[in-house]
Symmetry: C2
Subunit: 446 residues, 2 copies
């Protein structure tokens, strides 16, 4: 198998045996080449790119991280840049331009042939993360009056460099989308039959302005390998294929996971994101949460008398905070994921809250019982132990309801529910949970 | 557009106008039918299934949640079950059987035709979440000596009900996989050319025993729409298509998100999971964490004298716990996601830890400064405020390193890194962070 062969690109470059290296590289998968050059310094990467055929070079280049792309662009000779840019898929090219600083983009655009330039500028005009940005204009279109035989001939003539020929798009003279035909159906159909009679009319489509998450949802739901993209007048302007959607699904999951840990989205991988960028994206949230949490200090200060009388009460502060936070994290993860997968809807809110109130009571009961026993390790005051157990029950019920309610609230306010998890949620729970704890202890123990 | 038409299935059923309903249903996408019947009681779902053509019924049925499938199977007439089971894709059928109780499976298997029974039993023999379970044996194979023309004829003759005809698999007489041919290449090739000359030799493949996560990784990396699955002797036994992989990617992200919130994996959606099941999956973790957290109580108890002298010290306990936990959650989410996306590797550990030690110092410095100012709201003792700020700096550095280190440790021990996040991580951080806090305050304030 190809991918088990280990080749040391560095050795070939250092020994100057570039002709052999070229022969080897030409036969590799882009993903294999990416791995082979991963650890090379930029200067040696440039040599590898010089050896690659245009198409392969363009493909490998479009898969690199933005910081590497920038570095390589500054090292490539002008004609190599021209080669690579003109061989890139329009959607990959738009993505590249999107990530480069404006002055670089300006220079790069000047290298493009006029028709490529126009396509690229058009794609860049769509909002980020929209269907217009994801799509490629490289599809095969058919007319409804063509016979199957004519359609197949048309595919053979025009399909060579298209993103896919497995789904074909039937349009009228104004480019309005009439239907789709699977290549499969052309192959199995009688050559004389008209395209009109085997096409699937009224196919699913998305507008150029649709959010990529929405596109992913529709393609998953209807098990589509490709979806047509239309403009506001429902004229066909491009297609989105499933391989781009796979990336979108991963990206959206990553975004949710980061938000659930109170961080902004990071598009690039760990080692290709500048520490300064990461620092900013993390520390802003930490400062906000630290300020929000300051309420805790005031509450505890307010119960100074209780604490002075019974220092052991302080020993259960972490118990309330941790258990409340853990309970809230669990249920919020369930609800947020339910929204993301389309399994939960806003209208379900009361069913969920009712269910989670009951669930909170059950879990709180069990946990309170465990704490009641555990408490004897550090306290032999039965009343105190009973008080902290009842407080824990209250905090668990409260956290479970709040952890379920906040994602629904976010959804209602059209904020991303993923914000209502992890650090932010636990801090909100703490701020109120601590107050409940002291109030209950004060009431029971006095 | 079809999907904008609203039809009230319930009304049709109640008015007995089943013939019209049947005509309407026959034209719908499976996903649309799923939505239409979602809120119907099981008895009315059964009526809808009676109206659907076999193939469509089988497809819609395979997309239902397990609890609904069980209910419907108990309501269907025997011949309807036979129809649906025999029309289901082998991989969907294996998945269904996998989720049903043993006695139901036994009955269902007896309804199958012998050849379907054999295929299903074979698929069920592979371990859960393996390539063998995901694959379908419905592919088109070619011989290398066929001409392009013969190959196309072969596709037309045998391809009708296969999962895909867009990738064809070239095998020798012992069924060993020799290569793959894209239908595209057959279409563009000269009819006289031999399959051998246009096939892609040594294609990527996976073994039946490969984990589904590994299959997803390879298909993403090499941008494959389909991957062949071979047995231990490298004979072709099935194929996996990208639509199944889209589900795997979502499932793996869900699993990570749940683990990061300290819950076991839940395969079914919120309303289709029994509350009792959810209760168990959540409460076990909460109890374990509550017990682990008990160390905090002992530590705080040990510093009773410090607390008695300065009750204000208790007011900063939540600050240490929250900020430490938040910092740890952020970095662990970054590292865990980096592993899941294949961007980080075990060998990167020292680079990451070094970087995160520096990051922790920077963030800790900023946060300590903020806390120093904030502390004056509840305390006017400069030494105390300085001590808690220094303690926070220490806790942040420590949490940031620990939050980065634990996922690496898990990876090293071959545990899922996603375990080392959220609740478990914050509890571990708390247990040690509280000790650090009191030690530092005691040292500085005395």
């Amino acid at each position: 198998m190809k991918f088990t062969v280990k080749i040391d690109v560095k050795k070939f470059i250092e020994s100057g045996n570039l002709r052999t290296l070229k022969t080897i590289l030409e036969d590799q998968e882009p993903a294999t080449i990416l791995e082979m050059i991963e650890d090379l310094p930029p200067e040696e990467k440039v040599i590898v790119f010089r050896l690659l055929p245009k198409e392969l070079a363009a493909y490998v280049f479009s898969e690199l991280e933005p910081d590497e792309q920038t570095k390589l662009l500054s090292l490539f000779k002008e004609d190599r840049i021209r080669d690579i840019l003109s061989s890139m898929d329009p959607d990959d090219r738009a993505e590249l331009f999107d990530e480069m600083p404006a002055n670089v983009v300006k220079r790069l655009i000047s290298y493009l042939a006029p028709e490529d330039r126009e396509i690229t500028m058009e794609l860049l005009n769509y909002p980020p993360n929209s269907a217009g940005r994801l799509m490629t204009p490289e599809y095969v279109d058919l007319e409804e009056n063509m016979s199957v035989d004519e359609a197949l001939r048309h595919v053979r003539e025009t399909g060579k460099n298209k993103e896919t020929i497995y789904t074909l798009f039937v349009i009228d003279r104004t480019r309005k989308l009439l239907g789709t035909v699977e290549l499969k159906n052309l192959i199995f159909a009688d050559p004389e039959v008209k395209v009109r009679d085997i096409m699937k009319p009224d196919p699913m489509f998305v507008y150029t302005t649709a959010d990529q998450e929405e596109v992913a949802m529709i393609m998953k739901k209807y098990d589509l390998l490709v979806i047509p993209v239309v403009d506001s007048e429902e004229r066909l302007v491009g297609i989105i294929t499933i391989d781009d959607i796979v990336d979108v699904i991963e990206e959206e999951a990553t975004e949710d996971i980061y938000k659930m840990a109170s961080m902004e989205m990071i598009q690039t991988s760990y080692f290709h994101t500048s520490p300064w960028d990461l620092f900013r994206k993390r520390v802003i949230w930490l400062i906000l949460l630290l300020l929000l949490e300051s309420i805790n200090g005031n509450i505890i200060k307010g119960f100074e008398e209780v604490l002075k009388g019974m220092v052991v009460v302080a020993a259960f502060i972490p118990t309330m905070i941790d258990t409340g936070g853990n309970t809230g994290s669990q249920i919020s993860a369930l609800i947020i994921r339910g929204f993301a997968l389309g399994e939960l809807k806003l209208k379900d809110w009361w069913k969920v809250l009712l269910r989670e109130a009951g669930m909170g009571l059950m879990m709180g009961g069990v946990l309170a019982a465990v704490l009641f026993l555990r408490a004897f390790i550090i306290s032999h005051d039965l009343t105190v132990n009973l008080a902290v157990s009842i407080a824990l029950l209250t905090v668990v019920v409260y956290s479970n309801i709040l952890g379920a309610a906040l994602p629904f609230l976010a959804r209602f306010l059209k904020i991303d529910p993923a914000m209502m998890a992890g650090p932010l949620l636990t801090t909100v729970i703490d701020v109120t949970g601590i107050g409940m704890y002291f109030l209950i202890v004060k009431m029971i123990v006095g």
